[in-house]
């Protein structure tokens, strides 16, 4: 059982994102961090691998044109066995479809039985990479999972829906996308962090995966949107609720 988890490395969300004035791509520092959203996929993979026993392995897969490894090491420290890093300057600013072509080709090359992704990335949030990867691999997709189980060689999930949830089952190989409510990701232990330093990271280029970066879109304009003006902010002195009541009266809600 070979599990491949797609993990994106992104600029630290704690500092505000900037756009490159020339190509309008998000400015990406050398060392990027693990997208928090992908910690859930890593945790699901580790739990499934535990269930499968010795035969199972968890490999991380990240496309990171700048070659950042910091985020990968964070995920390796959680317990994954190794990683595949696709680094290629030609992939800078790649759109979702090119990203998916790269991930699908790498996952196929690794003979993945199960590919796990997040539902949407924090910086790109196109939310279509999991489905594109599934289509390119010719496998079923189990998406928006809020619970994952392995039953008789199949994957069964609770799929989050507007009304509640559906129980959906699919056969392997498959792509699985998980929400941030699916499991509680573990924190790396000191031992895990030390072990991560020597785990294997295989690097590949787009050419080795036979993917030609292309983009079917071009940016026409970028402009700033006028911000909403902030109003009055007051400290609650025990009368804060009366201010709210007055506001509700003013706008005729009460």
């Amino acid at each position: 059982m070979k599990i491949v988890v797609c993990v994106k490395q992104i600029p630290d969300p704690a500092s505000p994102y900037k756009l490159d004035p020339e190509n309008h791509f998000v400015v990406r520092p050398e060392d990027q961090v693990l997208d928090d959203t992908d910690r859930y996929g890593v945790e699901v993979a580790l739990q499934l691998a535990d269930e499968f026993g010795d035969e199972a392995s968890v490999t991380l897969l990240s496309m990171s044109p700048g070659g950042s490894q910091q985020g990968i090491r964070q995920a390796l420290a959680m317990g994954a066995d190794g990683a595949i890093l696709v680094e290629d300057a030609g992939l800078r600013g790649a759109d979702a479809l090119t990203t998916s072509r790269v991930l699908a080709a790498a996952a196929k090359r690794a003979a993945a039985d199960l590919v796990i992704t997040g539902t949407e990335s924090t910086d790109g949030y196109t939310g279509v990479v999991p489905q594109q990867v599934a289509e390119l691999m010719g496998v079923p997709s189990l998406t928006f999972a809020r619970k994952v189980e392995h039953v008789d060689g199949k994957v069964r999930i609770e799929r989050q829906t507007q009304a509640g949830y559906d129980v959906v089952e699919g056969s392997l190989p498959a792509v699985l996308s998980v929400t941030s409510g699916v499991v509680e990701p573990r924190y790396p232990t000191f031992k895990g962090i030390m072990a991560a330093k020597s785990k294997p990271v295989e690097t590949l280029t787009a050419a080795e995966l036979e993917v030609t970066p292309s983009s079917g879109q071009s940016i026409v304009s970028v402009e700033s949107v006028p911000a909403r003006e902030a109003g009055e902010v007051i400290e609650d002195d025990g009368e804060g609720h009366l201010k709210i009541l007055a506001k509700l009266e003013e706008v005729k809600v009460v």
């Binding site: 279509v128 990867v133 949107v225 007051i234 609650d236 609720h241 009366l242 506001k247």
Partner: protein
């Protein structure tokens, strides 16, 4: 110009995203086709017609996303649509991603506007927490595929006739289609519809626990409002996903949005920043929610909310 709009059966009607997209697409002129997945009830079909779809291509509900995408890709060859518009629903996103990969065409997600100028299709996105607007043009040729945000356009019927309905042939996609829905479960919300409510009272992690949503529900009841929530508390299992407001939840534009114990992360703000009046209660004076609030109370929700409930009760009696 030939535009396709993706629609799903929702509560015996067509999805609101489809009706919004059809309304917008009428302004492009030309052919308007709805691809409708689900029961295909008469009210749903009539609604699609009333919003401008002359033709509906229908698919039944128990078809995998892979098969729907394959059926649409085959129809694209004969029908040659210029533009295909999806909404943000789960099935919308599943099919849009697969169709894009199948056709080798990009899909532009999170669109807040779509414009057509001759042969060129452009979409607008609001990025960096809604502070920056980016307009992108498709350069790969037809069809342009886009996923639009809820409420990007108003849904307005134009009194169109019942559409011509034909069933779309579903090809066998082999292993890719090997998914089955074993059962469906409802965890429905009480009270008014969140997306349509004039007042929304939302709770975040600052409430401290699931049981505190009772206080939020009571407050909402007193002002005739619906209850909303942040993703943090949905993921924690305090309330169902149907309560979620934000980038990956619902988009609301009520006259009053009352945020209780919500930090105001940009992914939450994109779902509520267009509310007419925003009121926030948060104990942290630096919380980003105060940056968009018309009235901000720096205080503890456990004091302010119960006091507000008492004041409203006294006010009402």
């Amino acid at each position: 110009m030939k535009t396709w709009v993706f629609s799903t059966e929702a509560d015996g009607g067509a999805s609101s995203s489809a009706l919004e997209a059809l309304t917008k697409a009428r302004s492009f002129g030309g052919d308007l086709v709805a691809i409708h997945v689900g029961a295909g009830s008469e009210p749903a079909l009539n609604e699609l017609g009333a919003h401008g779809a002359a033709t509906v291509l229908h698919l039944s509900a128990d078809v995998s996303a892979a098969a729907i995408a394959a059926a649409m890709a085959a129809a694209c060859e004969t029908e040659q649509p210029d533009l295909i518009i999806f909404g943000m629903g789960n099935l919308d996103r599943d099919v849009a991603g697969r169709l894009s990969a199948r056709l080798g065409k990009p899909v532009l997600a999170n669109a807040v506007d779509v414009t057509v100028d001759g042969d060129s299709v452009r979409v607008a996105n609001e990025i960096l927490g809604g502070t920056t607007k980016v307009v992108t043009q498709f350069t790969e040729g037809a069809p342009a595929i886009t996923i639009t945000r809820p409420k990007a356009f108003p849904a307005e019927p134009n009194g169109g006739d019942a559409p011509t309905v034909s069933t779309l042939h579903v090809p066998d996609v082999g292993h890719a289609g090997d998914v089955v829905v074993l059962s469906s479960h409802a965890e429905s919300a009480e009270g008014p519809d969140l997306e349509a409510a004039a007042v929304v009272v939302s709770g975040g992690r600052g409430l401290g626990g699931a049981e505190k949503f009772e206080m939020i529900a009571e407050l909402a009841g007193l002002v005739g409002g619906a209850v909303g929530a942040t993703r943090a508390v949905v993921d924690a299992g305090w309330v169902p996903y149907s309560y979620q407001v934000g980038q990956t939840g619902k988009t609301v534009k009520p006259s009053v949005y009352l945020a209780c114990g919500i930090s105001g992360a940009m992914q939450h703000l994109v779902g509520m920043k267009d509310s007419t009046t925003i009121i926030a209660i948060n104990k942290d004076p630096e919380a980003p929610i105060f940056g968009v609030a018309d009235l901000g109370i720096v205080g503890d929700v456990h004091n302010v909310v119960p006091a507000l409930i008492e004041a409203l009760k006294a006010h009402g009696s």
